[in-house]
Structures are given as structure tokens and as C-alpha cells.
């Protein structure tokens, strides 16, 4: 049996999402079919507005409201423009903001180097970062890409790119999760925590 086109195309679209396989895609599609109208309608609206009502900040490339050139953080006078934290995605900004411990500004790369997926330096906001640093106001760059193979490689690449500008480059320390018992930490985390130890 062939599914009606409208369902099949929804399934196909859902399947392209990260973390969603064919099975979950069909399950979601049929769930929406059965669910009250307002669910699919509000979802449809949210999806349309997602692109029309958001934009990327032209300075740090974090998401912001459509029609704005710069985001709240970049516009704020209370934030320290001399320190910039480099992250992979906007969600990472959110996580760091929640800590309330960082008062500098951000730069969102919108990904990491990943040759397998065909993502090179030109596909990321690297040139824009270098341009920001070249202006001379930034004194310290904190590399906060994820502690993965690709995140590490990207950090190393950025370090090379920023070297000519004499800016102070640091890498986020990788340690044990808070409340994590040493005994129960997985060995990878432990190894990283050991190699990333700091003077006291």
C-alpha cells in the first residue's frame, strides 16, 4: 500500500531531522494525524515563524529576532567586549548564559570542522571571527567547542588562525561533572580531568 502523498512527505521531512529514524518519523506523522487540530496548526505556525521571525546577529552569529542586526548580548554595555567565548551552536550560548558566570561576549561558529560531512573552515563563521579579532578590541578568546574529536580539531584550527593577532587564546577546562563521584566518572572524563588539571 502507498501512503497518501501528504503523509509521506511529512514522514520524509521528519526523517531528515537529526536523531529521528524512519520509525519515529512515521510514528510522529500518524500521531499528528490523530491529534486535535490545534496541535498541528500551532506546530505549522511555529515552523513558519521559525525562519521569518528570527535572524542571525551580524556580529556574533547567535540567533536573534528578525529585523535586528545585533543580539542582546552584543548590544549590552554591561558585557565585557574584551573577552569572547567561541561556541559551536546557539544552544551552547544558552547553557553558558544560564551559569551566569560569564560576562564577556560570544561568537557562534554554527558548526565544527567535519571533513566527512564536507564541512570546512569556509562553512563556519571563522572568517568573521578573525575579522572581529583583527579590530583589536578583543584581548582574550576562550575556545569552548565541545570536547569531541571534531571540537578539539576546530579549536586547534582557530588557535592557528588567531595566532598572528597576538590575542590570548584559552581552551575551556574539561573536568568532572559537578556532584559527580570520582569513582563513578567514566574513564574518558577522568582521563580528561587529569590531563586538564590546573595549578592551585
Amino acid at each position: 500500500m502507498n501512503l497518501p502523498d501528504s503523509i509521506q512527505s511529512l514522514i520524509n521531512a521528519l526523517e531528515r531531522m537529526p536523531g529521528i529514524g524512519p520509525k519515529s518519523a512515521s510514528r510522529l506523522a500518524f500521531y499528528l494525524l490523530r491529534a486535535p487540530d490545534d496541535l498541528s496548526l500551532s506546530l505549522a505556525l511555529a515552523l513558519t515563524e521559525l525562519k521569518t521571525k528570527t535572524a542571525f546577529c551580524q556580529e556574533c552569529f547567535n540567533i536573534t529576532d528578525a529585523g535586528r542586526d545585533r543580539c542582546d548580548v552584543c548590544e549590552s554595555r554591561k558585557r565585557d567586549g574584551a573577552v569572547v567565548c567561541i561556541v559551536e551552536e546557539s544552544l551552547d550560548v544558552l547553557a553558558l548564559e544560564r551559569t551566569g558566570a560569564f560576562n564577556g561576549k560570544y561568537h557562534v561558529l554554527q558548526g565544527v570542522l567535519n571533513p566527512i560531512e564536507g564541512i570546512g573552515p569556509d562553512d563556519l563563521k571563522i572568517k568573521q571571527l578573525v575579522a572581529r579579532v583583527a579590530k583589536g578590541e578583543i584581548k582574550e578568546v576562550i575556545l569552548a567547542t565541545n570536547p569531541s574529536m571534531e571540537g578539539d580539531a576546530t579549536a586547534l584550527y582557530l588557535q592557528g588562525q588567531l595566532k598572528p593577532y597576538g590575542v590570548h587564546v584559552t581552551r575551556l577546562a574539561r573536568g568532572l561533572p559537578m556532584g559527580g563521584d570520582l569513582e563513578y566518572a567514566d574513564q574518558n572524563t577522568l582521563q580528561r580531568a587529569l590531563s586538564g588539571r590546573q595549578d592551585m
Partner: protein, 403 residues
């Protein structure tokens, strides 16, 4: 360490198996195709999380279970004692339906009830397995030898398993970039970040391989001397594709069995040399679109009295060498971890003459637990089979044999 209990569900021919296992020698007796080797395979899988004989884990899921349209699940559980404490490892092989007719295998590993990554569990429960078809380690492709040495070292040093999988990932990325550069051009300096990862991880792997092979060689040559009644000297020659100690020029005609001493190398030095070599090879590697040196291309040779067994070994010579290697691995794991691995010997008696059978029993007698399989109990000395636990394996069921 030793196994106290093994339970299998939908693993190969066993739809359900529950076995209490004593801490001593065990012999599994049965006709062909009854499931003897499968029991050893299951136990080894709980140590290595990969089979010794297949690269497609899905083949281990029971046929009938795998044919179902819904989820197919194969479950292996080992309860074992290590030192003074009891632990439990569980592996689930889950066949999930995918796409129109496809299936995907997912592996779940639990240590003491907590879900973990294989790299975090390897080394907790250790086993050494001998299966006659493993002679491919000697006379098969270099892949077989790398696979063997990787599995052996991972059990004694879990950090090795992690370095290896990171290396593999960096290698895939680097090869993808080399290919893109060779096809479309672009900034070659992008390579340097992957060079760094390859050289750093590769150097660590090379150093650990040097140490392990040297230690195993020492033990193996002693066992081999015994097993061959002093007629053969066994050497393990490690030949890294990036060699931190390349043969000096002019000595290219160096005999293969001339030992090269690679001890005393420093990991930072290896990394530095490796990095430099990668830069030297850069143009060539871009042209070829692939990484040409590194641990993924290493070779290991087995030499008996200076003769390369991979090329010139007789069947008997290869069998004996394999046994020497396996017995050495047992002792090596004991030295490195302080614990005896569980020893799994498939059809080993049939491969040996009377004298060597006695030698073998003497060797493994020191350990904590050994499981043998055989089609013929008479291959074992009478006193031995009388004092060990003997099980009948028949069509996917196992029962205590009336002696």
C-alpha cells in the same frame, strides 16, 4: 577471575541457556554442530564485545529470532568474580527493523546494571580464546594480526581501546579531507589539525604496541621452546608502518629476524617524528587521497627459527605457534592485571600429540578457570576428565554428564 554463571537468550542455537559454572576445569563434549564453540564465543564476547570469528555481530542473533518482524533481541549475561568482588556484565544485541526490509543492530552493554560504552567496560572481565581457525592470525592478512593485537592489548589496557577508536575517527576525517583536497583542491593547511590528532594518538598506540609485543614475545618464546621441546625459537617482529626507528640506510638487506630494539622510546619523540613524516608525505598523500602511514598499516610477523610463518609455516608449526601465543597472552594478562583471564580452548586436544596435550594441561592448570570443547572425551587423560566437570552439549542444551 572466573565465571560463576552464564545465561544466554537467543544467542546462536541457544534460545535459552542458564549455566552455573564451577571454578575449575570444564569440558564441553558433544557431536558436531551442537553449540560447543558458540558457548566459548559467547563468553569471549562478554570480554571483547566483538566475536573472534565474525565481523557482523548480527550473525550471532538466533536465526528465528532475527527473522521476526518486530525487535529481535539476543542477550548474554555473565556473573563473575574478580578479586574478592562479584560483578555482572550484560550485553544485548538488538535487531531493529529499519527502512523497508532492512535491520540495524544495536549493542547495549551493562556493567553491574548500569549502561556503559564498550570502551569503559573492556578490561573488567577478561578471557583468552583459542580456536583452530584462528591460525589466520599467522597466515591470514595483516588485518587479522592487527585485530588480534588490538583485542589483546585492549583487555589489559582499556585506554588503548579508546585511543584506537579515537585514532580511527581522526583517520576517517583525515582521509575524507585528503580526498576532498585531491578532488577539489583547497587550503592544504587544514590538514594540520588532523595530523596533530593522528600523530598524537598514533604515537601512543605505537608505543603501547612496542611494549606489549615485546612482553608477549618474551613469554611466547619460552612457552614455544617447551612445546617444541627446544627445537624452535619463536620471535614476534613488530613492523610499524611509521617506524620511529627506521632501519638505517645501507642496512636494507637486514635479515628479518634481526631483532630491532625499540625500547626506551618516548611518546613525545614518536609523535614529533610521526608529524614530520606526515608533512613530508603531504603532497603524495593528497595525490592518493588516503593516509599512507600509521598504526592502521602496521604489520606483525611470527618467525620460527628465523622463518616467517605467515609465508613458510607448515600447518603443524602454525598450530603450535598459535597455542604458544595464546598461552603467552594468558600469562601476560595475569602479569599486567593481576588476574587470571578465563581460558577458552576450542578443540585444542585434537590438534596436539600426546606429549603436548600433557604440556598444555600443565600450563593451564595454574589458572582459575578453563573451558575446553571436544567431540571426544578420550582425547583427555583419564585422571583429568575424572577430576573436571564434564558437560554434554546436545542441540542447544547442556547437561552434566554422567561419568
Amino acid at each position: 577471575m572466573y565465571l560463576k554463571h552464564l545465561s544466554l537468550t537467543n544467542f546462536r542455537t541457544f534460545t535459552r541457556l542458564d549455566l552455573k559454572i564451577p571454578q575449575r576445569e570444564i569440558v564441553l563434549v558433544g557431536k558436531n554442530a551442537q553449540g560447543k564453540t558458540s558457548v566459548l564465543e559467547a563468553i569471549y564476547f562478554l570480554a571483547a564485545f566483538t566475536s573472534f570469528q565474525t565481523n557482523t555481530d548480527r550473525q550471532m542473533v538466533n536465526f528465528y529470532e532475527a527473522k521476526k518482524n518486530t525487535l529481535g533481541i539476543s542477550r548474554l549475561v555473565a556473573e563473575y568474580k574478580r578479586g574478592k568482588s562479584d560483578h555482572r556484565i550484560e550485553v544485548r544485541l538488538i535487531l531493529e527493523p529499519m527502512g523497508v526490509n532492512g535491520q540495524r543492530l544495536r549493542k547495549e552493554i551493562l556493567l553491574d546494571g548500569v549502561k556503559k560504552q564498550a570502551g569503559d567496560v573492556i578490561g573488567h572481565f577478561n578471557a583468552v580464546i583459542f580456536v583452530p581457525q584462528m591460525s589466520a592470525i599467522m597466515d591470514g592478512s595483516p588485518d587479522e594480526r592487527r585485530r588480534y593485537i588490538n583485542l589483546a592489548i585492549s583487555q589489559s589496557n582499556p585506554a588503548y581501546a579508546r585511543a584506537l577508536s579515537d585514532y580511527q575517527q581522526a583517520l576517517t576525517q583525515r582521509n575524507a579531507l585528503l580526498k576532498a583536497l585531491s578532488e577539489n583542491g583547497g587550503d592544504r593547511n587544514q590538514l594540520s589539525v588532523w595530523d596533530e590528532a593522528i600523530a598524537r594518538l598514533g604515537a601512543q598506540i605505537i608505543l603501547w604496541r612496542i611494549e606489549a609485543i615485546q612482553q608477549i614475545e618474551k613469554l611466547a618464546s619460552r612457552v614455544h621452546h617447551d612445546l617444541t621441546h627446544e627445537s624452535e625459537t619463536l620471535r614476534l617482529a613488530y613492523e610499524p608502518a611509521y617506524d620511529p626507528l627506521p632501519k638505517p640506510s645501507g642496512q636494507l638487506g637486514l635479515r628479518l629476524d634481526t631483532p630491532i630494539d625499540r625500547t626506551g622510546l618516548d611518546v613525545k619523540e614518536i609523535q614529533k617524528g610521526f608529524s614530520e613524516k606526515l608533512i613530508e608525505l603531504r603532497s603524495e598523500e593528497i595525490a592518493r587521497g588516503v593516509t599512507t602511514i600509521g598504526p592502521h598499516r602496521d604489520e606483525l610477523r611470527f618467525l620460527a627459527n628465523g622463518v616467517d610463518l605467515g609465508e613458510y609455516g607448515s600447518r603443524g608449526q602454525i598450530k603450535t605457534t598459535l597455542l604458544s601465543l595464546k598461552l603467552a597472552e594468558v600469562e601476560w594478562l595475569k602479569e599486567r592485571t593481576g588476574e587470571w583471564p578465563v581460558i577458552l580452548l576450542d578443540e585444542v586436544m585434537a590438534e596436539l600429540d600426546l606429549e603436548r596435550r600433557a604440556d598444555l594441561l600443565k600450563y593451564v592448570g595454574k589458572s582459575e578457570q578453563v573451558l575446553f570443547t571436544t567431540t571426544d572425551l578420550n582425547l583427555f587423560p583419564r585422571e583429568f576428565s575424572d577430576s573436571s566437570e564434564v558437560w554434554d552439549v546436545h542441540d542447544g542444551t547442556i547437561s552434566l554428564k554422567n561419568k
